[in-house]
Symmetry: D3
Subunit: 128 residues, 6 copies
């Protein structure tokens, strides 16, 4: 294991995800510790920790690619991450609408339905 | 034809594309005037002309979805558009690198190769 | 909002979907009224309301693209729509079989399983 | 080799493709005679030779799946096949326009550009 | 029906799948006996029964294509098949890790999660 | 830069690719040295250099994912790599045939055409 890259990844994950989400993600360690190391060190350490794009710009990229490839389970987690790093609900909705013209309505509609659920949970958490 | 939407679309296209590119796009009118109207009125009028995201944020979405779906002919045109609306080469390269983790290296490598060509042409145009 | 396009879209949706399905779709209005307007005005108003193809031919296109892109939630709704606009179960099954050669068996098998469920519900509704 | 299936496939191919196109396809025999047999016996013999859908309905399915998966080389050949089995240019254009809402504009635009080329070649052949 | 091809397919399926899984697959017969025949005769008879690759090499191909196209329901069944024909858990995990670089982390992560579940069920079955 | 990972990657690339191909790949260094480092260190260093699968098993995975995602430019390079690490032409053809049932004929046909070209070049190089 490459400690600097892994530590950078862990730090990026703390900015993006709640403790509960990170706990869920760590389940990967039990199945494949090597893939877990790559996710943290490469995915979050090498990629999210880079300069040149802000975390909110990175989440625009992430939301768009997940919508385009129909990866809706991961989209749910990154919709919350997008809110966490400062994208507004209006901006997230706008990313999905823009995608409609590029990937077609079926994926945009499915993404918007999930966004509606995530926004609702987020409001409930903040009103507690 | 719905004039306000079409005019909004034409205006957005002027901000995004050079006169030469727009001329090439208009070839669509001869094959299907109806699809041409939808491209301008819906694609650029209804989508690109909206508020909530800047044109440079919209191009981040567009580049990402084109890389993810492997639409490399359209990517070439939008790499130039991304430069035109103010994204730096560094930011564009960063979008492609971020995508590598989400769509895999083959598409990221192909996208970066095309970006290299577009950046070279762009430098030559500006040094004239 | 562009009333003629929106009204055309609503009329097409009435031919395609049951009242219950349309009611479910309208949930989109609460999350993003703008995407809802695009779905109705562009998706159903501009596209489904056009001439040149019948609604049953349009549903052949729709089923095929949804199977190909693996959009199985939307497929369920359009399998019912295909029956509503007059495609026979035999024709729908045949579309899925034809797709097997073009998109591979995994997606064809998944589509056929959903078709089996939709056909069963449809028979139960008609025997009431 | 299964003669009845292979002969049925050859017959379907004669209805779909010009002699020149079939000659080109046969190049597969030199690389992999087994894949060639599957293409003819399964692809055209088992699938295109079935009842329940007409050849022109089958080409609507084929064009749609090829546009959706971005298989533009194969699309070119099947645009010509679609004309050969009786779809009008207007109907083909309409299939592509309908797809725009389901797969996004980039693939629809690319498909329409190829359709424009195929229609032009077709007109030149008929005016000879 | 073509008996030799169908019988070859049934034999291959017996090597790949448990009786319970095959029973579930046969549900297809009630919806579309023709697609069922193609699955057995073409999918398993023509393809899996061929020489040149072992069944465990074939399952490497199958797992990879299912991960790449995001066909996760089918992946579950073939993860079990991969164990049945002799791939080790370590080799299966390695296929998924290799895919991460080619299709991106979202699909690799989803595949690994399902593999974790299948491996757990498999251990429980063997400890009975 | 992380020297051990980069060196491992360079070593794997020497086993997979001819000097000429590696020279072409290095063009990436001029466009984005960071992506180049990731390709070598992560793609080839972290992934191809791992145990648990042989290089020829890894190329089966690679060919399959490239065919499935339609990445035909990268496929060409990896068809040659597959021969270099010891897969026979017969095994490569068999991977493509197996894919036909999982991704459909259009992509299998396109892959086989490219394989035919690569095999021809390979024979010419060996007869020199």
């Amino acid at each position: 294991m490459d400690n600097a890259r892994f530590e950078a990844g862990k730090k990026a994950m703390e900015e993006l995800f709640s403790q509960e989400v990170r706990k869920g993600m760590e389940g990967m360690k039990d199945i494949s510790p090597d893939l877990w190391d790559m996710i943290v060190s490469f995915g979050f350490g090498d990629l999210y920790s880079r300069d040149s794009l802000s975390l909110s710009q990175r989440e625009i990229v992430t939301l768009t690619t997940l919508i385009t490839q129909g990866a809706f389970d991961q989209l749910r987690v990154h919709l919350q991450a997008a809110l966490n790093v400062g994208l507004s609900k209006e901006e997230i909705i706008e990313v999905i609408i823009h995608c409609a013209g590029y990937v077609g309505f079926p994926k945009a509609v499915q993404a918007m339905g999930i966004a509606g659920e995530v926004f609702k949970e987020d409001s409930q958490n903040h009103s507690k």
